[in-house]
Symmetry: C2
Subunit: 237 residues, 2 copies
DNA sequence: ACGGCAAGGATTGCATACGATTTGCGCATG
DNA sequence: CATGCGCAAATCGTATGCAATCCTTGCCGT
């Protein structure tokens, strides 16, 4: 493990430290500071955050439930390395859910919300001008945030939680299989969706969202890359 | 807590006992053997299943993630008492997801699957003839199983997990707010959906599924019945 | 008589200790 | 030199102990 920053979470939440650790690890994973396959030993996580294994374990359990880490009995927890097939399932799920989210959001969104969204998107535009892995990570994160904000105004806590998981895993997949400037096209599409919402055209907004997801997935290179070594050896041998 | 049967899970799974406990509690909750609001103390659960608080706690954590129990810090875990609003969100989510599941299932379902489904449905019919709370619980459970089986043939593990949660919470809601013979109409609708699937008519199957969900929700009496026991006592006294 | 308050009990939150299981390495041996 | 066996290190799974927190309830002052 190589989290450069020893994150101080003493001040953040006096309660539920495992939640804070989950959040920190979650961010590290979807930012790709923790590479897929990285081992997350309970003791290591615990010492990094200066807590006992008990609470570290709880955090890892939560992440396992979210599908961001895979736990093998008596072996440990590892950052999830989603297969292309898993990636396809993730996007299939999003295609199913997000149009509905858009429709629900249309019912409840206010002008203030839309203003807020626009400010957020303009904020993101700054990252697009920059290059480098840090900027790319910020892009991926911000792009996901748009979808999450949309889910939050939809007013359905359950769907919001589903989206939380889907976006997190999508970020992981994009970081793994992403090809190029995902966001350059994705960004304008976010604006287009907002426009449709503002115009009250749910039909169009949903269609745009579908296209948007298609574009994101189309930009991926979903090839079986390094089949865990074992499969490579078997296939080659 | 009053789980009559002290379930023996020593033989079931030599590994991951917390998972077995989760399963047992889960069944008890959706079968309504554990009433909403029931306190699930770590020590009590632990002693019931003859494990330490640690593993009991893990099981409760998982159930909390699924939304079947609500945990209050420093207070304990309680069987979830879904509000009418939560119930509406659950069914809204199902309306969003299940038609997509039907469509996906259509692509992959085999004749054997359909045969299996029919056998299952006929099996359920036995329960319908009986009366009493036990039969009602069995009905609710079986009715949910149909949807879960459908999700499993859809071939999307993520959606399947979402449905797992939605069905579990639906069962809880139906047990809480259900009015009458949910299944009498629901059952025939299951057959109708199967017929549409066998005919390869995804359009119709999805529409039938939507109607089916509508019917289930329509049969609920979604009034704020926040008794909490206190008000019960007051009303009676 | 009523409202605030403090002591007591119960329960969770967390840390640590111990046993179980797996992995990897070294050594003996063919 | 290759191979198989066995031991040791590491890590997880689980139990239990202690401290912190919250609720209850009885008490006292007003």
């Amino acid at each position: 493990m190589s989290i450069s920053e020893q994150i101080i979470l003493s001040e953040t939440t006096p309660e539920d430290r495992s939640m804070a650790i989950r959040e920190a690890l979650r961010n590290a994973i979807i930012d790709r500071r923790l590479a897929p396959g990285t081992k997350l030993s309970e003791a290591e996580v615990g010492s990094l955050f200066d807590v006992s294994r008990t609470v570290a374990r709880a955090a890892l359990q939560m992440l396992t439930f979210e599908g961001l880490v895979k736990t093998e009995r008596n072996r440990g927890a590892f950052v999830s390395n989603p297969s292309p097939d898993e990636a396809r399932q993730i996007f299939a799920s999003r295609r199913l859910i997000e149009p509905g989210i858009v429709a629900a959001a249309l019912e409840r969104i206010t002008l203030e919300d839309i203003e807020q969204f626009r400010r957020q998107l303009q904020e993101e535009e700054r990252y697009m001008t920059e290059r480098g892995p840090a900027a790319r990570r910020a892009e991926i994160k911000a792009s996901g945030d748009f979808h999450l904000m949309l889910a939050s105004v939809a007013g359905n806590a359950i769907l919001q939680r589903f989206m939380d998981e889907l976006i997190a895993r999508s970020s992981l997949v994009i970081a793994l299989y992403g090809r190029s400037g995902v966001s350059s096209c994705g960004h304008s599409e976010h604006f287009a969706i907002l426009d449709a919402l503002q115009a009250g055209d749910g039909e169009r907004a949903a269609a745009l969202m579908l296209h948007h997801i298609d574009h994101i997935e189309a930009d991926l290179d979903l090839q079986e890359k390094q089949g865990l070594g074992l499969k490579d050896a078997l296939a080659i041998g």
